[in-house]
């Protein structure tokens, strides 16, 4: 009962100082928006990468020449299937296409190489030449829908017309946003790629624990190849997103600094009015614990409100508005990538850490100076004011 009454007084006390309360709330909320946006986006991109790779092959083999990725001969499949532990090897045909019309980059994939777990939003997968299925990002950038025509310029600078037979939807937006899928034959023709070559080889193994061993064997069998395991890819993605997120947090540390200055300003002293109020409360019978409880409620109410508002705004910015500013920096594709709306994912551990690092210092900066005033005799506090 007593706690609730003091909470009620604390809330009324905040409302009595609307200017100061609003100023702190705005600064605090903005800081949380910035920090939480970076955390949300980094985590969402890492989750997307994980989801995307989970549906991909356990091992991808690329050919390299002078350290660069080259097309790999399909004949290498025969060598690889003979390696013990290898279950299946499938040549994949895919490549990139820069669409000058919209200034975006698409990924074109042969139908046979596409993972089966991708589901269609509507329509069907392409069956013959002149048909394709596209990702939602492509549909948006080209303003086309099901059964519309998609014109792409092939390797010989000839415009080719494809009928959209399906639009993709996937939990991993990162995988399907920029995707254009067509049967393997027409895609080879489009890229001018001979039947004897493939972009890379997808390798399936019997025992996932032996992927690294098999990768070593492949490297020995095909010295000019580069086997890439799924876990290596995942680590790379995570490292890249973590690094970019860290860079952004470093850039936004100025916001954090501003907040620290605000907290320090609060911690180093109370205004004459606040000291006087504490003196009055003590004089009329509040003990130090009551005053601290009042300040604790004030600090908690303000910081929780700012934290929750900041997180909510960050969530809307990242997952609803598609992170107009932060997204490009973190994804790293800038304007060449179709607009991305990451699948909502929140790491509560990170959120808890953010709460700990922002709420605790603020509450402490509210309570500590109040404590310094409250432990003084009310007589002295009132004489001082």
């Amino acid at each position: 009962m007593r706690y609730l009454k003091i909470l009620e007084y604390a809330l009324a006390s905040l409302l009595r100082r609307p200017g100061k309360t609003c100023a702190i709330l705005v600064v605090y909320t903005l800081m949380i928006v910035v920090l939480a946006s970076v955390l949300f986006l980094t985590q969402a991109l890492k989750t997307e990468a994980t989801t995307m790779l989970a549906g991909g092959p356990q091992l991808v083999v690329q050919k390299t020449m002078a350290g660069r990725h080259e097309l790999i001969p399909v004949s290498a499949v025969e060598k690889l299937v003979e390696i013990p532990g290898v279950k299946a090897v499938k040549p994949r045909v895919w490549g990139y296409y820069y669409d000058a019309l919209t200034g975006t980059n698409y990924t074109l994939q042969g139908f046979d190489t596409l993972a089966n777990e991708l589901s269609l939003l509507n329509g069907r997968l392409p069956r013959e030449e002149g048909e394709c299925a596209i990702g939602a990002g492509v549909a948006r950038s080209r303003l086309i829908h099901l059964q519309d025509e998609l014109i792409l310029i092939d390797y010989d600078n000839i415009g080719r017309i494809f009928t959209v037979t399906g639009v993709f939807v996937s939990a991993a937006d990162l995988l399907t946003q920029d995707l254009v899928v067509m049967p393997e034959g027409p895609l080879r023709q489009f890229f001018g790629m001979p039947d004897s070559l493939a972009t890379d080889l997808a390798v399936e193994v019997y025992n996932p624990n032996e992927v690294d061993t098999i990768a070593n064997k492949i490297k020995r069998s095909l010295p000019d190849s580069r086997p890439i395991t799924q876990s290596e890819l995942l680590r790379t993605y995570h490292a890249v997103f973590d690094w970019r997120g860290g860079m952004m947090l470093a850039l936004f540390s100025s916001a954090l600094m501003a907040f620290c200055i605000l907290a320090w300003d609060k911690a180093t002293g109370l205004s004459a009015g606040e000291r006087r109020e504490i003196g009055i409360l003590k004089a009329v019978g509040w003990d130090t614990g009551d005053v601290l409880l009042l300040k604790l409620w004030e600090g908690l109410a303000l910081s929780l409100l700012a934290f929750l508002s900041g997180c909510l705004i960050a969530f809307i910015l990242v997952f609803w508005w598609g992170t107009p500013v932060l997204g490009g920096i973190l994804r790293g594709w800038s304007v060449l990538f179709p607009a991305l709306r990451p699948t909502p994912f929140i790491d509560f551990y990170q959120l808890g850490t953010l709460a700990f690092l922002t709420i605790i210092p603020y509450v402490a900066s509210t309570v500590i100076p109040a404590w310094r005033a409250a432990v003084t005799d009310p007589d002295e506090v009132m004489r001082a004011s």
Binding site: M1, R2, Y9, R16, K282, A283, V284, G285, D377, D379
Partner: protein, 230 residues
């Protein structure tokens, strides 16, 4: 008869370890009986307010003892000292010390927050205290909208809301004209009649010559220089 309040050789020095150390009270022994109206008289700087603070458990003595209702309070832990202050004393300060942003009702309610009272009981006590000082109609007004006399009545209502045994008033007529001072003293007389003990610090003759006063303790430079009936 046991006195309600007693001080024994009580001293108060502010900033004792600093160069500007000031001895406000220097070894005063006095007592106040239950139901008595005692005036602490003396010029500015004579130690009246400091002695009131000591008697009212607002501060601790540098040396000596303060005994309230038979219990020595000068060495009590802060929490218990606060409890004694809240349950035994009501204060009317010279500057009133109201919180300007609060309404009359909320100012009067302040001493009740730490108590384990229901909202209804709090409301009842506030209403009773406001009725006592005839401010019921102004309950929702902000204290800054009130006159000086009305603000002092708010301060008195706040002092009474915890149903204290002792009312302590520091220079209660300092900001009042002669007519309002008379009204205030009549109110104090009525409170005394109802059984309240009064300890008033003043140098206003209108107060210490008023019939409600039983005894005058005269202070000079922090020392008790004269004590006697009014």
């Amino acid at each position: 008869m046991n006195p309600l309040i007693r001080t024994e050789e009580v001293c108060k020095t502010y900033h004792p370890r600093k160069a500007d150390a000031t001895q406000a009270v220097a070894g005063i022994t006095m007592q106040v009986a239950s139901g008595e109206a005692v005036v602490l008289k003396g010029p500015s700087g004579s130690g009246k307010t400091s002695l009131l603070s000591l008697v009212g458990c607002m501060t601790r003595p540098t040396s000596g003892r303060v005994i309230v209702t038979g219990e020595e309070v000068s060495r009590l832990p802060e929490r218990f000292l606060t409890l004694v202050r809240r349950r035994t004393f009501g204060f009317v300060f010279q500057q009133y010390h109201l919180i300007p942003e609060l309404s009359v009702r909320d100012n009067v309610m302040l001493p009740l927050y730490p108590e384990r009272l229901s909202a209804n009981e709090m409301g009842r006590r506030v209403a009773a205290a406001l009725a006592e000082v005839e401010l019921t109609g102004l309950a929702r007004r902000r204290v800054t909208e009130l006159s000086g006399g009305e603000q002092q009545r708010v301060a008195i209502a706040r002092a009474l809301v915890n149903e204290p045994r002792v009312l302590i008033a520091d220079e209660p007529t300092a900001h009042l004209d002669s007519r309002l001072s008379t009204v205030l003293l009549e109110r104090f007389a009525a409170l005394k009649q109802a059984g309240l003990t009064l300890v008033i610090a003043t140098h206003d003759p209108q107060v210490y010559t008023h019939p409600l006063v039983d005894r005058i303790i005269e202070l000079h430079d922090g020392r008790l220089c004269k004590e006697g009936g009014a």
